[in-house]
């Protein structure tokens, strides 16, 4: 069994309304892609944001890349973790290249390296260098999302967190982006955690599934294992109905 990139043990999280995560225990394999699948309100996005310390657990321990989430200099630690989100969240006042390289420049990386890395990522994501100077509002939704993924991978993170980055795209753009993403992910061999409500997307991109419902993990394991032996009726329905 490969080492775990992310480990949750006995994790609870509540907001004002009540429990969002209830006794979560997980071990996500290093070097693989894990999909966390659930409906809206299942707590999947909260789970993701516990992994980069945006939220802190009320109870339980979380280890990421072999160490607990640090209390000090959290933002420096976060730079080792890539992050992309639905709608991309590009900075509207920065052009494409500045969006991708902002963090690298603030980290005082060598500028030749920054330029080269940015070019290479854009190329891999099928973004023409003509787009470098363009502001986000002039890009299509698919282009924005590709820039968002380049930004997430710029600092060569060991862990990539994806919060439904493909959800808002039209089907054609989405399928094209899956292929570009898979190729780049494999080239970078980055451990990936993908949050999605779409079981097809999960099966297409992930090796490992976590099925979440009402803040409780229904089943967690390699894709074929989950498909072969659904732990309960919910998982069974999710797999069969949505794929029908």
């Amino acid at each position: 069994m490969p080492a775990s990139a992310v480990e949750f043990s006995g994790v609870f999280k509540r907001f004002n309304a009540g429990w969002v995560l209830d006794d979560v225990n997980l071990a996500l394999p290093e070097g693989r892609t894990t999909a966390i699948v659930g409906e809206s309100g299942s707590g999947k996005s909260t789970l993701l944001q516990l992994m980069n310390g945006v939220y802190l657990a009320d109870k339980g321990t979380i280890r990421v890349l072999g160490e607990p989430i640090p209390r000090r200099h959290l933002h420096v630690w976060r730079r080792r973790i890539g992050y992309a989100i639905q709608g991309a969240g590009l900075f509207p006042h920065l052009n494409v290249r500045d969006n991708i390289t902002l963090l690298a420049k603030l980290s005082r990386l060598d500028s030749a390296f920054i330029e080269q890395r940015c070019d290479s990522l854009m190329d891999a994501m099928g973004l023409s260098t003509d787009l470098s100077g363009r502001f986000p509002h002039l890009l299509s939704g698919g282009e924005q999302q590709r820039v968002g993924l380049c930004r997430a991978l710029m600092l060569q993170p060991r862990l990539l967190l994806l919060d439904e980055p493909f959800s808002a795209l039209d089907p054609v753009a989405r399928v094209g982006l899956y292929d570009l993403f898979v190729r780049l992910r494999d080239r970078e061999s980055v451990t990936t955690v993908l949050v999605t409500h779409d079981i097809r997307e999960a099966l297409r991109l992930a090796d490992h599934l976590v099925i979440l419902r009402g803040g409780v993990v229904q089943q967690s394991g390699p894709v074929d294992q989950v498909q072969g032996a659904p732990a309960n009726e919910y998982v069974n329905v999710l797999l069969t109905d949505q794929l029908a």
């Binding site: 933002h75 420096v76 630690w77 976060r78 992050y83 989100i85 969240g89 900075f91 902002l102 963090l103």
Partner: protein, 496 residues
């Protein structure tokens, strides 16, 4: 702080042993106030003092507080006003008794000018002569057919018509008229008798007879220099030379020259002194329009500029400090909004006990007025940055400072600039009121022009102030285009 400033001033003063002694002369913001203060100022200059003029101070309270707090050394006050408005007495005691009461504030009245600018009843001289009327009693008893119409204010004031009825036994109820129209109505014969101030320039201009107050009903409003008690005795005695130098008829004539004769108050003041054999060193200020325009504009820009820079720094920092906490930002914006609702003149007046008069309180007031638009726009803009963008800024590993510096502030810049622009234009307009507390600027000619009924003078302040506001607006627009990416400018810049 003020003690420190005072010490510094004292040291500077001691290092110039040969400099002339400085006397600060204030004036109220109406024609007679300007004229008499100018007489005092020219007299002191003639006697070799270095005179600083703080003219057009906005009303009795501001003048009195300024004197009490040593911001000015002398201004012209009326015994009736002192008794009623300052000392809250029901009658007007003689000057010696007034001075006893004033001693606690360390101010004193010098000898009065010799005239009494009180309420009075007046009618056309020709008509009065024809009917043989010279006293108020005459119209009560002998001439019931006369049309008595008085100003609305006089009709209501306790020391106006109601008291007059009690003193003289009028059994008619008079009509009311707008004071500004009463003179023309007298002239046209539409009315026969109305209330006036006894030294109004209109008395001369319209050939009026001021009826004798034979039952001594109207309180005395004798004009006299009010000075700080600790003023050197030789300064006081210099000013005291003016005691009993002007009677009612002369004062009417002088006021008429300023109000209707097109003569500047400086020149009339020189003429008054010339009657005493004093040739004023200063003379008039004609031909200095451009110089004073430049000076006033620079002072105006300095007042608004300093206030605006302070408000930008404070407003943006405060906005950054509170925008994350909803209740806190709401209360801060609420308080800033409350400050804005205080009428400017009231705010300026309230600050006199704290900051005195002049530049410092004026800048403070402008600062407070500029704060709200900047603070509110900063808070709103920072709090309404797209939540997806703000989540990304945290999640990709920007520090709190970097989030502000590279994401939140640049995105809020258009709205903040719009706030600064609003604040700048408000400031430039409001700063014209700073003249009321002696801070100068483009309000100076406006206040003076209003007091002296001189439209030309008003325009000398109003036109440059309006131009300045327009130029500021244009300059900010150009600046925004320069620093803000165009696609961020349109919605955010206008929405707030």
């Amino acid at each position: 702080m003020r003690r420190l400033l005072a010490t510094i001033t004292l040291i500077c003063w001691m290092q110039q042993p040969f400099a002339a002694e400085r006397v600060v002369v204030g004036s109220k913001d109406f024609n007679e106030g300007y004229l008499l203060s100018e007489v005092v100022a020219q007299l002191l200059e003639h006697a070799g003092y270095d005179v600083e003029r703080r003219f057009g101070l906005g009303g009795t309270l501001i003048c009195y507080e300024a004197l009490k707090h040593r911001e000015i050394d002398v201004y012209i006050e009326y015994t009736g006003t002192l008794s009623r408005a300052i000392l809250k007495l029901d009658s007007t005691p003689p000057p010696e008794q007034l001075n006893v009461a004033l001693a606690t504030d360390h101010v004193e009245l010098l000898g009065d000018f010799g005239f009494d600018n009180t309420y009075a009843l007046a009618m056309k001289s020709t008509r009065a002569d024809a009917l043989g009327i010279s006293r108020i009693s005459d119209i009560v008893h002998a001439h019931r057919e006369l049309k008595v119409v008085v100003s609305h204010e006089f009709l209501k004031r306790a020391d106006g018509w109601p008291g007059l009825v009690a003193a003289y036994g009028f059994d008619r109820y008079p009509g009311g008229i707008e004071h500004g129209l009463a003179y023309q109505a007298l002239e046209d014969g539409a009315i026969d008798v109305t209330d006036i101030y006894s030294t109004d320039g209109e008395v001369t201009r319209y050939g009026l007879r001021v009826l004798e107050d034979d039952r001594k009903y109207f309180p005395e409003y004798r004009a006299a220099p009010l000075v700080r008690t600790e003023l050197p005795a030789r300064v006081k005695s210099t000013i005291d030379a003016l005691a009993n130098s002007i009677d009612n008829a002369q004062m009417q004539n002088f006021n008429s020259q300023v109000t209707f004769g097109g003569v500047t108050y400086q020149r009339v003041a020189s003429a008054i002194l010339a009657q005493h054999g004093i040739v004023s060193a200063r003379g008039t200020e004609e031909g200095q329009m451009w110089r004073s325009l430049r000076h006033n504009t620079l002072v105006h820009l300095r007042l608004t500029g300093i206030a605006l820079i302070g408000a930008i720094v404070a407003g943006v920092l405060l906005g950054i400090a509170v925008y994350r906490t909803r209740w806190l930002s709401r209360s801060v914006v609420y308080v800033a909004g409350l400050l804005q609702t205080i009428p400017s003149i009231a705010l300026l007046g309230l600050m006199i006990p704290l900051l005195g008069i002049g530049t410092v309180p004026a800048i403070t007031a402008l600062f407070l007025y500029s704060l709200l638009p900047i603070l509110r726009n900063t808070v709103t803009a920072l709090a309404t940055v797209d939540p997806v963008v703000s989540r990304v800024a945290v999640a990709i590993g920007l520090s709190s400072f970097e989030q502000l510096r590279y994401v939140f502030l640049p995105l809020s810049l258009p709205a903040i600039l719009a706030g600064v622009r609003t604040a700048a234009v408000i400031s430039i307009g409001t700063a014209t009121l700073a003249a009321f507390i002696g801070a100068g600027g483009l309000g100076d000619p406006i206040v003076t022009g209003l007091a002296l009924n001189d439209p030309g003078l008003i325009l000398q302040g109003a036109i440059p102030a309006a131009l300045l506001a327009i130029l500021t607006e244009l300059a900010f627009e150009a600046f925004e285009r320069l620093v803000v990416p165009r696609h961020l400018l349109a919605p955010a810049g206008r929405a707030l």
